[in-house]
């Protein structure tokens, strides 16, 4: 890579790849959050069998590499006669993975609600829907936020794994450019910088949200 235009081309491709990565991460974060809410309801159910099922599911998904999961889903879908393509397969894999991580984050948030708050809510005789919407969900949201942001950052990085199942995203784009130009270190360095910027952005967003909550008086609870 010697000419300025080659650099420009590379940068444009990488930026495009980064956008795809960001889109993959955003879609799976959104879907994973929904999955996690369902999972955590199962995981905290009064029915022992459901709690057991939750635990096994968490073990399996958390205990196997995303890379292996990606390959499994990628090959499994066509075998099931579902020709969804690598992008859908990729989002499914990330959603499964994030769903499990988010579920554990939310479960921790529920367990972090002090007994005194449950007592308070009970003594007011709140119906289940109002209890969930007015008390549990807001508290869990606040307790979970830092860990949730942490998983979101992981989501961006985990999306790079999808290049193995031919999802064209940032890592895939980098490898393409390297094959053409052989500029291994500079291109990988640029790709890493793009990942860093995205993760940094999410981190800042998280800090901003935490700050907003602190303004609403929540942080003082610790003191």
């Amino acid at each position: 890579m010697t000419t300025w235009s080659a650099w420009q081309n590379a940068l444009a491709l990488l930026a495009q790849g980064a956008l795809v990565s960001l889109w993959l991460a955003a879609a799976s974060i959104a879907a994973g959050t929904v999955v996690a809410v369902v999972l955590v309801a199962v995981g905290l159910s009064r029915i022992g069998l459901l709690r057991q099922a939750y635990r096994v599911y968490i073990w399996v998904v958390r205990g196997t590499p995303v890379l292996v999961q990606a390959l499994l889903v990628f090959y499994a879908l066509p075998a099931l006669d579902l020709h969804a393509g690598p992008y859908i397969a990729g989002v499914i894999v990330l959603t499964m993975y994030l769903g499990v991580l988010f579920a554990e984050v939310f479960r921790g948030g529920v367990l972090a609600i002090p007994q005194t708050q449950w007592d308070s809510a009970k003594s007011l005789g709140l119906p289940p829907a109002a209890l969930l919407r007015r008390v549990v969900a807001p508290l869990v949201g606040r307790y979970s936020l830092p860990a949730y942001i942490n998983v979101c950052v992981m989501a961006v990085k985990a999306s790079s794994v999808l290049s193995i199942i031919s999802v064209w995203e940032l890592t895939f784009a980098a490898r393409q450019i390297i094959e053409r130009t052989l500029a291994v270190f500079s291109v990988l360095g640029l790709a890493a910088a793009f990942y860093f910027l995205m993760c940094f952005g999410i981190d800042r967003l998280g800090r901003w949200a935490e700050g907003r909550l602190a303004l609403r008086g929540f942080a003082g609870e610790r003191g």
Partner: protein, 250 residues
């Protein structure tokens, strides 16, 4: 009126309540005193069914609370009924237990709006009136973390009253407060006594108990060991452990 008969409860092998009998009339203030571990807080929590109990019954205005008939195998009542029963009681806790993500007014309106389906404007009007009564109308939009302990506890009292309960249960409501903040909370309780209200109070503050109570019940080892007007219980105790308890509290 509240009737408690033969209430028993154990934590594992440790009996906490060994047969409590207590009647509280409408408009009557009864204070429970006793050593820590005597069962007074557990009794209060049983009355609101924040704790289950093993035997005995609690009735409010004749209606049996929390458990179905003993003959029917003594099952807890369905939650929908339990919720309605809880709405007839207001509880104020030692640690205030306000919801940290809600403003003062939202805390006070939560019960009326979502448990009793009172329309928003009406609930807020009710909340404002109560907050005026506890002297916190200027804190309506503040979050609990911005309030002192005494202010938080006054909000908690307003929150309990917002349900228009038949009975108010106060669980050591000044124990967690700095000494200089105790007075403002006690003043709020005093002001409530202008109208007759049924209250069951757990406290270590014997002077305050003497002042507000119609009767004081001394609990010892899970039983009501002595009960009577404040003068009789505090000044002329008969139970030897009560004499000893009062000597230590002085």
């Amino acid at each position: 009126m509240m009737e408690i008969r033969g209430l028993r409860k154990s934590f594992g092998d440790t009996p906490i309540l060994r047969g409590i009998d207590l009647h509280v009339a409408d408009g009557e203030v009864v204070t429970l005193i006793g050593r820590s571990g005597s069962g007074k807080t557990t009794l209060l929590r049983c009355i609101n069914f924040l704790e289950s109990y093993d035997l005995g019954e609690i009735r409010l205005d004749g209606t049996r609370l929390w458990y179905g008939d003993d003959a029917g195998g003594r099952l807890p009542l369905p939650e929908s009924r339990t919720r309605r029963m809880r709405q007839q009681m207001g509880v104020v806790f030692q640690q205030y237990n306000l919801f940290p993500h809600m403003t003062v007014l939202e805390n006070v309106c939560l019960g009326p709006r979502f448990s009793q389906d009172v329309p928003r404007e009406e609930a807020e009007e009710r909340g404002r009136t109560l907050l005026r009564r506890v002297g916190l109308e200027d804190k309506i939009d503040a979050y609990p973390a911005r309030l002192s302990g005494g202010q938080q506890q006054r909000v908690a009292i307003a929150r309990a009253l917002a349900m228009r309960p038949k009975v108010l249960l106060l669980d050591e409501i000044t124990s967690a407060l700095d000494p200089e903040l105790v007075g403002e909370v006690e003043d709020v309780i005093r002001s409530l006594l202008a109208e007759p209200i049924m209250m069951i109070v757990v406290t270590h503050a014997l002077g305050f108990a003497r002042e507000i109570s119609h009767r004081i019940a001394y609990l010892s080892e899970g039983r009501v060991a002595e009960i009577g007007p404040p003068g009789a219980v505090l000044d002329a105790p008969r139970d030897p452990t009560l004499k000893d308890f009062l000597r230590r509290m002085r």
